[in-house]
Every structure is written in structure tokens, then in C-alpha cells.
Amino acid sequence: MISGARAYTDNGVRRWLARAMARDLGTLVVPGLEIARLHGLDVGAAGLRSVASPRHASVLLVVGALPPALCQAAAVLYAQMMRPRIVLALGDEPLSPLPSADIRLGLSQRELLEGVRQLRVLLADGAFQTTAIDFEPAILSTRTEYTCPMHADVIRDEPGTCPRCGMTLIPREAQHDDHTGMDHAAMGHGQPEHKESTDHAHAEAHVRPESTDEDHAGMDHAAMSHGQPEHKDSAEHAHADKQHGDDHSDDHGQMNHDDMDMDFMSMVEVTRDLPRGSDGLQMDWLEVPFGPLFPGLPGGLTLTLTLDGDNVARAQASAPVGIEQARLTEPDEVATFVERISQTDRLAPLAYRLLVYRALENAANAVLDANSIRGRVGALERERICSHLGWLAQFGQQIGFGWLARRAAVLQLAARNADVRKLQQLRPQLVALTQRLQRTPLLKQRLRGIGVLMDDGGLRGPVARAAGAYDDLRLQEPAYQDLNFETVVRPHGDALERLRIRLAELTNSAMLIDAVGVIDASSTFAHMEAFHHLSGSGQASIETPRGAASLQMTLDQGRVISARLDTPSTRHLPRVASLIEQCELGDALTAVASLDLSPWEVMQ
């Protein structure tokens, strides 16, 4: 009945175990808990236990639509989950290459509860069943090919001997197809040497004519250029010493285990060609992926860190779920365009919806009445509160602060659809949260001086305001000026300041809502017909929870023919690499988390 069952007959003992399994549901949430909360899902309250490693999970909970990159990442995680495993999908989007969902329901807490109930029944009944289907999508498969340790261009599908030198061909794994595009040659590349050294008796005699230590470093080069023809092209050479680290790591790893016949190794000799760390020591570097589905970062954000011990030597940040410019400029009806933009950023949908409306109104020279403007202010500020609380919950998770992660999540869920009166009731709790965090031991020490970004005009939103810049579009808006709005600015630009800024904005936004007394963005939806035959261009900007976003669009007879979007995360993402280089791993991840990047709004 379930696609990830264990293929065994269901006897008495297994039945009991299956019932126990139905009570303990370790869950991986894709794209992430932050998206689940945004849809009002309280995963913990539904009886699911969110876990960090796919090894500990039995449920894969898919929330809403997944872009292709995340579908593949989720499929990898699913493959690494232990049977019995089960897919619960909320929403009706396709999941391929994941197997079709065992349970598929709508996107609401009520249906999540129903889903968990069904899931327990399914697991208790179907954890063990007589047949099971292997999960083997193409992205996971590797093909074994055989290559000569001396002649890398000799590649055969069958084992045998090298036509040129007669050596036995050695097996290596090759990726079937390039799946995420992020792993460059990594898959094919680590392996050849691996096998090579396992098959050492052969390799040694030829690749290393004299089996002396001095030759070791040289041998790696030989191995590298032999094992991997693809590294010869010049593009790859740009990364020469990164691969270097990898190649060495491979060899040394093997060395420690298999090469019992090795004589004494001089550290100076074996580390001669290794990259130098910040302290001048030469050690192996590791390239480790953090993302796209890493528990400490928002789902979709992908960091690839080259680690020198636990220090980040080099970093690459990308957002494979971001907005493609090509898709943005596709000509489209106004109504569909609005939907598309507001769904691009799953973390701040309302702000982007309002942004398009402002741009349309700008194109049509439409003027909104005061009530609608105030309603929008209320709605936007409520989204800001939710967004900041969601960030707090995620940040709490990243820095291992269990209480904060739980408390902020509870408040976010409460604020999500709250009206003015309910938000008034929430305000003391927001204040209490702020005060609590000011008193929390270790928190300041953990965050002070971490991820310092000073303002140079390129920062946006809370990140800029934490670095002393009065960067807040709300300051220029009459609606906010009428409310005597003042923005909070702090000087030091580190993670602690960003936390303080967002905490201050929580209460500020609550006060703004109090002052406008209305939360209502619906008035904007009513006059859509006005744009049906509109031609011209419009532009607008808005202070989203993450900072200023702006949109320029050209319309022709009610169709959007071109558009340009500028979003805060697009500006912040390229900063990540230089921000975290030479940081300790934990500090680096905290620094990235403190930026509150939304991978969804990154322009590709």
C-alpha cells in the first residue's frame, strides 16, 4: 500500500513494531519548516517530529509546489531515508522524480492533521508488506566504467585489459547524468583514485616507479591527470587547487587505511602541495554541500563550503529556486502576471502582490483612497511581523535555541491571520519575547561580531539598518509619515544588531497596525478590470520584510510585455561568500542565517 514499505510478510512481531512506528513519526519537511509555518502548518502540533537527517525520518512532508531543483534534492533525501518511509504531500503539484505521494491532501493544518491520521493507519497496516518497489530514479544511478590507470582516455563498459599497456582496467563510478548541476565533476571525480588506490598493487608499480615518499605528491598529479580527462580543459583549471584538495583528500584517506605497506611518511613531504590555511598550515580541504535542504538554512538556499578543518576557506552561495528573469519577462495577461509575481517569493507573497499593484497603479496613474492605503499598510506590517517571527524561529533552530524556535513559531502562527484586535493582544507577548532575548545568557556572545556587513549602499532592509543606514522606503511614504513612523537603526552591522533590528521592528509594526486600525489588502484586488486595456509603463517599490524591492513593467493592451524586478535577497546573496570566508563553520552558518535570505526572491 505504501511505496516505501519493507518487503516482508506481516507477522505478529512486525505488526507490533509497525504500530510503534506509527506513533513515532520522524519527519523531513520540504522545502522547510519556514514554508510550512507560512501556510499555517504546525508540524509539531500535528504529531510529527521534525528531524535533521534523512536517516532519522520516516515521513517526507512536501508543502506546496516544489521547483525542479528541490524535487531532485527531495528525491535524494527520500532515497536516503530508511524503510518504511512514506510521502505526505500537501498541495497537488507533481513531485517527479519522487514517487507519487502516499497521501495527498490540501494545504491547511486541518488537512495536515487528517494526513497524519491516515499516515498512522497506513504505516501500522502497511509498514511490512510482501512486495516493495525499489526507488531508483535516473538521478541516483551511477554506471560503472572501466579505465586504465595509465591511460585515462581508455574507457570501457566491460572489465578487461588496456589495449595499449595491457594493465587490468580498474572500475570507477560515473554519474549517469548531471543532476543538480552543482556537483560539477565531483561524482565522477572522487572515485577513480579511490578505486585506484584500492587496486594499489597495480597502480604503484606504474604510476609510482619508485615507491618513495618523495614521489607521493607527484603521483597525485599523475593520478589526477590520468583519472579525469575532463579536468584537462581549461575551465576546470580555474578551480585547479580546489580539486587539488579533493584529490588529495581521496588519496590520503585511502592511505590511512589501505596502505599498510607505506613506510614512514614525512608530513612536510605529503602535505607539500596541499592548500594553505589561514594560519599557513597545509591541510586537505573538503567541499561540503549545505543545502538546498539543510535544516539550519531556509529550504532552497544552497551553500557549498570548502572547509579547511572547520574553517570556511571558500564559499559559494546559490539559490536554485529563485526567479528566472526569462520567465519574468514572458508576455502575459496582467492577472496571471500578478499571480506569478506574488507566488515567486513564498516567504513574502503579500509584499510582492502589493508591489505589482503599485506598479500597475503607477502605470494607470490611479490614486488609491486613504482607507485602502491604510488597509495595505496594516496588511504589509502584519506580513512583516510574521516574516520576522518566522526568521526568529528559523534562526533559533540554527543556533540551537530550542525555546526560541518554538516560541517564535507559536507567535508566528498566531499572528498569521490575526485581525487588529488579536494583534493588539499579541503585542505584550512580542514585547516579552524581546525582553527575554535581551536577558538570555550566551546569546550576545554567540552573535556579537558575527557576519559583519557594513553599509556601502548595496544593502537593503534590516541588514542595511543594522549597519547604520537609514534605508527604509517607508520613511518616504506619506501614509507612514502620517503615522509619525520612525525607523530603527543600529550601528555595528553584525548578527546581534540584525536580531535587535528585527525585534524592534516586531513591536514597531504592531504599533503601526494599531495606529492604522485596519488590515485589508483586498481593496487592491477589486479594480483589476481597470488594467485590462492599459498600455504604458509603471514602476514601484515597496519595503518588503527583507528590504526594498522594486518593479518596472511595461504593458501593452493589458498584457505585460516586459518587467524588471529588483529584490533584496538578490543583492545580499552575492555578499555571502566574502562574508563567511575564514569563519568557523558554526559562525558562518549563523552569519548566513542572520541575513534572512529568501532564496525564492533571488533573481537568477
Binding site: L17, A20, A52, P84, G253, P295, G400, L442
Partner: protein
């Protein structure tokens, strides 16, 4: 018979501590949850990663459990209620707990996965921070008792518990014990948000069950050690000896578990710096103060 009783009570403590841990996580008390979790793990697949160091990978969970059990074996719950009364008991606790490091390094190295590897090496750094703060306070306790026998250590506190006699030692030992059990905020080797499970990440099914059980046994052993060394062991009015031990032990364990819930994870650099710049001078001061007190009072 006493050995059997001591073992059974040990298991009960472990279970209660598991319940406390689960309720902190879920926010609801559910006495059956750890049982279901354990059974569920037994029924699930358990994988050995490809190209792993099989010996390291398989040994680590068992070694973790063993070191916790051996440490607990020399700690008395009541007069006579212990597994074995070793003449070098206080030293033996140290020796047994040293293997926690070995187990975690093995678990880190074994699976050939990056997160686990970093977690394992991180714990070595953590050892450099906590180890002296376990060893030195125990020395001061032994000075007062003039013995390494754990039963003697308890009887030496008949009039005054060590928590009052040497509060500094207690605080240092308690914090170091949390670091040794890699409990939050010292969960550097398993950090969810930094290493996605770290040394635990590659364990699944029955192997994970043994690993988690070993971790819980370790918390229990450390809570028992704190009770014996600082809280007067079984001493206390009205209630029978074993009841006092139980109450104190579970109290200490709960305190360890609860504290981490309200704190962010510590940075490794700061942990090391604070341990050596403040912890060790304070531990030396503690030894000196106890030395003076012992001489003055005897």
C-alpha cells in the same frame, strides 16, 4: 542480587530521563513515547554507509553505551546498592568517561560523511575544554574524603554536602558534565542547525537506537556522579536512601536537560577560551580552597 537491582534501577532512570527529554521536545508529557520510539527504531532499516570504516562505525554506539555503563557501575544508589565498589572508583569514572570521546571520534570518522567527520573532530576540541573540569573537581572531592571509593565519598558528606562545602567545584563539574554528555548548549558534535545531526547523522535503525540509548545512559551516569560527588548521595531525611538517590539523580538530569532548552548553542572557540581562561584557574582555586578547608576543619 544488588547488581541486578542496581542495573534495573539504572534502566528505570534511563527511561524516565528519556521521557523528560521527549516531553521537553514535544511540550507534552507522554510516558509511552520513548518506548514507541525505541521499538520503531528496531523495526526500521539500519544502513551501513558505503566505503565506511566498518569497525569504527559499528563500535562507536556500543562503546558509548559501555563507557556510560562502566562509569555508572561504580556509583552507589544506596549503601550496598551498586554494581561494584572499586577501590579506585573516582578515578575509574574518569577512565570510563574518557571513552566517550573515543566513541564519538569513531562515530565521526566511521561513515565517511562530512557532517559526521566535522562533528567528531569538534568533540575532540570539546574534550579539551571539559575534561580538566571533570577531573579537577573530582580531585577536590577525593581530598575531602581521603579516598577514591565512591561510598567513602558519600559518607564524607554525612554532615555537609559537597555542594555547600565546595560550591565552585559543583558548578564547574555540572557544566563540564553537560559538555561531556554533549547536551545543549554544548551539542557541538550533533548540532542540528550546523551539522544536520553530525556524528549521529549516519546512524539509523537499531544502531541509532543503541547510540541514543548510550547517550541517555551517559546522562544518567553523569547525573548519578553529580549526586554521589556533590549532593550527598543517598543522604536525606525521612525518605529511604534509594529514594533520595533517585530524586537527586532525576533532579540533576532534568536540570541538565532543561538548561539547554533555554540557551543558544555555545561557540566552540568561546567554549575553549572560557574553559581555559576561567574554568581551569577556578578549578585550581577550588582545589586550593578545599585543601585549606580540610586542614582547618580536621
Amino acid at each position: 542480587m544488588t547488581v541486578f537491582l542496581a542495573l534495573v534501577s539504572m534502566l528505570l532512570y534511563i527511561y524516565v530521563i528519556a521521557v523528560i527529554e521527549a516531553s521537553l521536545r514535544t511540550g507534552r508529557v507522554n510516558a509511552a513515547l520513548p518506548l514507541f520510539a525505541a521499538l520503531a527504531l528496531l523495526g526500521r532499516e539500519s544502513i551501513v554507509p558505503r566505503k565506511c570504516d566498518r569497525i569504527f562505525f559499528e563500535t562507536a554506539p556500543i562503546l558509548l553505551l559501555l563507557s556510560a555503563l562502566l562509569a555508572a557501575a561504580v556509583l552507589p544508589l544506596a549503601p550496598g546498592l551498586m554494581i561494584t565498589d572499586l577501590a579506585t572508583g573516582a578515578l575509574f569514572i574518569n577512565a570510563a568517561l574518557a571513552y566517550v570521546l573515543v566513541a564519538l571520534l569513531m562515530a565521526g570518522w566511521g561513515p565517511d560523511g562530512a557532517y559526521a567527520l566535522i562533528g567528531g573532530w569538534r568533540f575532540l576540541g570539546q574534550l579539551l575544554a571539559y575534561s580538566m573540569l571533570i577531573v579537577m573537581p573530582i580531585t577536590a572531592v577525593a581530598m575531602r574524603a581521603s579516598s577514591l571509593l565512591t561510598t567513602d565519598i558519600v559518607t564524607s558528606q554525612a554532615e555537609l554536602w559537597n555542594i555547600v562545602y565546595q560550591p565552585l567545584g559543583f558548578v564547574l563539574f555540572f557544566i563540564a558534565a553537560m559538555a561531556l554528555a554533549f547536551l545543549p548548549p554544548f551539542d557541538l558534535p550533533t548540532a542540528q542547525g550546523e551539522l544536520a545531526g553530525g556524528v549521529e547523522a549516519e546512524y539509523s535503525g537499531v544502531r541509532l537506537a543503541v547510540f541514543r540509548f548510550g547517550r541517555l545512559a551517559l546522562i544518567t551516569a553523569l547525573a548519578a556522579a553529580t549526586t554521589v560527588l556533590y549532593l550527598g548521595g543517598w543522604y536525606g531525611p525521612w525518605l529511604p536512601a534509594w529514594a533520595w538517590s533517585t530524586l537527586k539523580l532525576l533532579g540533576v538530569a532534568s536540570a541538565m536537560l532543561v538548561a539547554g532548552h533555554y540557551l543558544p548553542r555555545i561557540r566552540e572557540a568561546q567554549l575553549l577560551a572560557w574553559a581555559w581562561k576561567f574554568g581551569i584557574p577556578l578549578a585550581l582555586l577550588n582545589i586550593f580552597l578545599v585543601g585549606v578547608l580540610v586542614l582547618v576543619l580536621s
